[in-house]
């Protein structure tokens, strides 16, 4: 029966037929769109290989590239800040916002506008700003809906994928128009008008960064709604928030990565907007912010980086393809995970990035089917990394409880462990039986001999299946005298 928070939430989604249906349809749609983009296996493999080596090389050179990026950004007139923890980033952002607003006392305080950024979700920026009395408005349509509903994104590309039309219409009625209507085009227009006003008044805009080019000091941001461009050009101050792993070496690295990203994410050859930001408004320019700040956030990334195999995780370009193809995600939905990043990538990021109690449980919540690894545009061996985290979880238990001197102390602590001595014993016994062929023969013989006596109910297994029925004799027995 469900025991962890993850299982409990998953259970309620599994019982919600409508949600099941809409997740499945949405994921099937995205899978199909991606398939149409990559219908030439050779082209896919070549491009994927290229993207993988670009990101791998960038990560191997990470400290150097970050310094180069910093120097180039400063050169371009962009102010660079480093944050190790979410707290540091939040405090920094608050300070930067207050600096801007206090230098404009005549301007009426307007909400900060924010383009879609998962890193801001990671540091829980909206909540933090709210506590400081600073309203922050999401301007991506999906994020906007999620914010109205006081929820968190359930997908990294499609944040409101769990919401149906009626729910959105109801939210818009309550918060914007006062009248219920569920024509999608009209709903979009309503939101656009509302957001446009906010853009005009905003003095600070916050955005994420998809790629940061070290060679030129360019911040690249892809989007489809134009809200990213508005958030980064209209307000006086633009604050860009990025994880340190987003840096790439040169501009020529960009086209293959952009192609992999947009085709994997939404099945588009290219997004409607590709913003390349290389500094604040210069003399004689008609638009653009007066100040641009970049915040480079670590939040556990450098720990992943230090470990040769966990480093692969940092190649992620956040396309979401692994969740779209995941049979677990498409059934339990994004909120069940209780993490910023749901789905397969979330499972391998969470133990390092999150403090949730179930982070240690998540790497186990996979059948290891490999669908995620198969579609990942930067070839992250997600199943292998899930295994690695499973080992971390159990070995940490062994280190803490068994005083096992042969197992090295793990560098990467994970929370929420509930691995008991019982489990440990089971696997020891299992190993012992399987290391002694005669004992194995005897045990399997007993199972076949006493199969009538085997229980009819086997926990959750028999809720969905008849109990497994051993044969009357094993293959070993049948071949014994041959």
């Amino acid at each position: 029966m469900p025991s962890s928070p993850f299982e409990m939430k998953a259970s309620s989604v599994l019982q919600n037929e409508e949600l099941q249906h809409s997740y499945r349809n949405a994921m099937d749609y995205l899978i199909k769109r991606r398939q149409q983009q990559f219908n030439d296996p050779l082209e896919w493999q070549t491009l994927r290989q290229k993207g993988t080596s670009i990101k791998t090389a960038a990560l191997n050179d990470l400290p150097q590239l970050l310094l180069q990026l910093e120097a180039k950004l400063i050169n371009n007139g962009i102010q660079v800040h480093w944050a190790e923890t979410p707290d540091e980033a939040n405090i920094l952002i608050t300070r930067l916002i207050k600096e801007t607003t206090s230098s404009n006392p005549d301007l009426s305080p307007a909400p900060v506008v924010k383009g879609k950024t998962m890193v801001s979700e990671e540091i829980h920026l909206n909540q933090y700003l709210a506590q400081q009395g600073i309203p922050c408005l999401e301007t991506d349509m999906g994020e906007f809906i999620v914010q109205l509903a006081k929820e968190t994104p359930s997908h990294i590309i499609m944040p409101a994928i769990h919401k149906n039309k009626a729910e959105i219409a109801q939210l818009f009625k309550e918060h914007i128009s006062g009248i219920y209507q569920d024509d999608v085009d009209i709903l979009i227009q309503q939101a656009r008008q509302y957001l446009r006003q906010c853009f005009e008044n905003a003095t600070v805009g916050i955005s994420g960064v998809n790629f940061a080019v070290a060679e030129t000091g360019t911040l690249v941001l892809v989007e489809n709604e134009g809200n990213g461009r508005m958030s980064t050009t209209l307000p006086q101050t633009h604050i860009a928030l990025m994880g340190i792993e987003k840096v790439i070496a040169s501009l020529t690295d960009l086209p293959p990565l952009l192609s992999l990203l947009t085709r994997s994410a939404t099945g588009q050859s290219i997004t409607t907007y590709i913003n390349m930001i290389s500094g604040p408004r210069r003399k004689g320019e008609k638009d653009g912010p007066e100040k641009v700040h970049v915040i480079l956030l670590d939040n556990g990334r450098s720990k992943l980086w230090q470990d040769a195999s966990l480093r692969d995780t940092l190649r992620c370009i956040r396309c979401g393809a692994c969740m779209n193809h995941c049979p677990v995600y498409s059934r339990v939905g994004g909120h069940s995970y209780g993490t910023t990043y749901p789905g397969p990538i979330g499972k391998i990021l969470a133990p390092q990035l999150e403090t949730q109690d179930n982070a240690a449980d998540l790497p186990f919540a996979s059948s290891l089917c490999g669908a995620c690894g198969e579609v990942c545009p930067v070839n992250i061996p997600i199943p292998q990394l899930l295994l690695r985290w499973r080992q971390e979880a159990t070995q940490q238990y062994q280190t803490n409880h068994c005083n096992h001197t042969t197992i090295p102390q793990q560098p990467t602590p994970i929370t929420g462990l509930k691995y008991s001595r019982g489990q440990h014993l089971i696997w020891k016994t299992w190993s012992w039986i399987n290391c002694h062929p005669k004992l194995y023969y005897f045990m399997t013989y007993l199972v076949t001999k006493w199969r009538i006596l085997l229980p009819r109910q086997l926990g959750g297994w028999t809720l969905y299946r008849t109990p497994p029925r051993p044969a009357s004799s094993t293959l070993h027995q049948r071949l014994k005298n041959k």
Binding site: G370, R390, P437, Y440, T462, Y464, A471
Partner: protein, 250 residues
Amino acid sequence: MTTTEHVYLYGTCTIDLFFPEAGIDAITLLEQYNIKAHFPPEQTCCGQPAYTSGYPQQAQQVALTQIAAFPENWPIVVLSGSCAGMMKHHYTHLFPDNHPQSIQAHRFSQRIVEFSEFLYHHLKITLTDYGQPVHAALHTACSARREMDTLQCSQQLLSQLHNVSVVSPAHEEECCGFGGTFSVKFTEISGAMVNDKCKALEATNIQHLISTDCACLLNINGCLAKRQKTPLQGEHLASFLRQRCQPRKP
């Protein structure tokens, strides 16, 4: 072919306990093609359950037992894509380069061949279908599809059977939800997955469900039986091929 070729058969513990006839069928089928399949009684489990549960040391011990059980330098034909994947691709993780048994483990891994791969690539078998016209679906285990890359082998083998029409159920490429301890630990999610798999199978007109992985079949068959919508029960490719390719007595 005149000389007899020797291979080892690795039965897998699932087949040992639940589908022993698949092992017998594989041996019989191979015999028809002049292959002598040896079944070392010292074989047990490949170690995968402990490995995927986060217990590599325990898996390593069991792996060593398997390595010792197949002394001759013959190919090891494995009746499951997932166990083959474990022995071919993951033993290298269990025995990294600095491990005293790493060379031995590596050599062992190189001898691993999945059953359909052996028939199709090594034996280059030509099958003759003596059976009645039927509809069948192939369930490829995720590891056969994505790790061993042997999906084409079973597809090609089935396509040689002129009286078998192969049907693709909806979401064919999706996992059946077994995943070893996953199905026990996350019963509801696993249950939802296998239910969907069965619904898709029930929506077809197939009389046969074939797989190269009996662990998936344990899962799917159990669910099909529980749902009681169809008498369909999956069987191992070896069993299906043996039935189809044996000349009927006049």
